[in-house]
Symmetry: C2
Subunit: 221 residues, 2 copies
């Protein structure tokens, strides 16, 4: 079975392969952070390394990748080498990929709300997406209220882990998934405390300010 590829097929392969170089360059969190930093203006490797909290060697390696995709350019000035984005289109692309991520990934939306320290309530569409993600096991939805309250009603696919048992049962939680904690609602601080503890212990945790009431799942008589 000689796999004879047609000329057209071969040409197509080359084409998509080239576009994929841009995708590859933007497939690493650290490289994206470097791009964003460079969108603020040209910087040395040292500065970039410091601002993105990585070693200079690693920064250099990532910048090498970006340069091989022609997304950034360099210029030496004395002992330093200054990096800058190749042109305006690169900055526009950074905005585009970030926007798409915000549009498609609920987890990002929530993490964003978290970092701005003003966690917002989710739109109905966001809720759907969160439920979907929880069903597929992409995120862990954690109910940190006392067990009886969980038993009465809880968010879809949520698992119960009361705040006072959290410290003892940390090992039950995965470190590689985003944990979304919620409690009684935006005025209740249990979820916030839980998230603080989880973060301190190295988990990727975010705080959902809503509770069963806000989700229309409050138990009725």
């Amino acid at each position: 079975m000689t796999s004879q590829k047609s000329t057209v097929r071969r040409a197509k392969d080359i084409l998509y392969e080239q576009v994929a170089r841009i995708g590859k360059a933007t497939s690493s969190a650290k490289r994206l952070e470097l791009i964003e930093l460079l969108c603020q203006g040209e910087k040395t490797v040292e500065t970039l390394a410091k601002e993105s909290a990585i070693s200079m060697k690693l920064a250099s390696a990532h910048l090498r990748e970006l340069r091989s995709a022609h997304l950034v350019e360099t210029e030496r000035s004395g002992k330093n080498i200054y990096y800058r984005i190749a042109n305006r289109e690169v900055a526009e692309f950074w905005v585009a990929i970030r926007s798409l991520a915000e549009d498609r990934l609920v987890e990002l939306k929530m993490a964003l709300a978290q970092i701005t320290n003003a966690p917002k309530e989710l739109t109905p569409k966001d809720r759907d997406a969160l439920v979907k993600a929880a069903r597929q096991g992409e995120v862990i939805v954690l109910d940190v209220r006392p067990s009886p309250e969980f038993a009465a009603a809880h968010l879809p696919y949520a698992q119960s882990l009361p705040i006072d048992q959290l410290r003892l049962r940390l090992s039950e939680l995965p470190k590689d998934k985003t944990i979304v904690a919620y409690c009684r609602g935006p005025y209740c601080l249990m979820a916030k405390d839980a998230v603080d503890l989880l973060k301190q212990k190295g988990f990727a945790a975010i705080h959902l300010p809503e509770g069963v009431a806000e989700w229309g799942m409050a138990p009725v008589r």
Copy 2:
């Protein structure tokens, strides 16, 4: 040395990591091709596999990745499962990443000209980019004219390999790099023939319709 990460740092990591999911999803040539196919309308896995010339298993695996980044959605209809892009933003992103690739990567621009079968001359900016790529060894610029002509003048970083020796010396060329062949100019067919042979032998070759005259490097008395 306990590497205590600050809360802000940790939150940032989550953010960029999420955006990188989109980058990862679009870092494979085959996944990009699948996205483009889906931009034309919903299709079954079988159709997608056929149209992108891969096995159904592989198509399924790639679609799984796309789905985990929420770029595509599925719906079962009888025996078939139909895939479609999640929303209009995904199609817009495909256009955006392709545009950026065309803007930044000369090789893509040239391959495109090649596939449309109307190889165009390069702008001065494109020439610069090609020279740069050749200098860095990213592409091989191949002069297929007779040796004496090469000796008289040739494009920057070009290597000589006369068309009548090409078949014998194929082993000197790398299979993992794009080979850009040129000859006397747009009316000369040596480079075209060379590219046809190279492609047939499994190389990634494209045809540059310009020669030393067009590049302003023609030898003078």
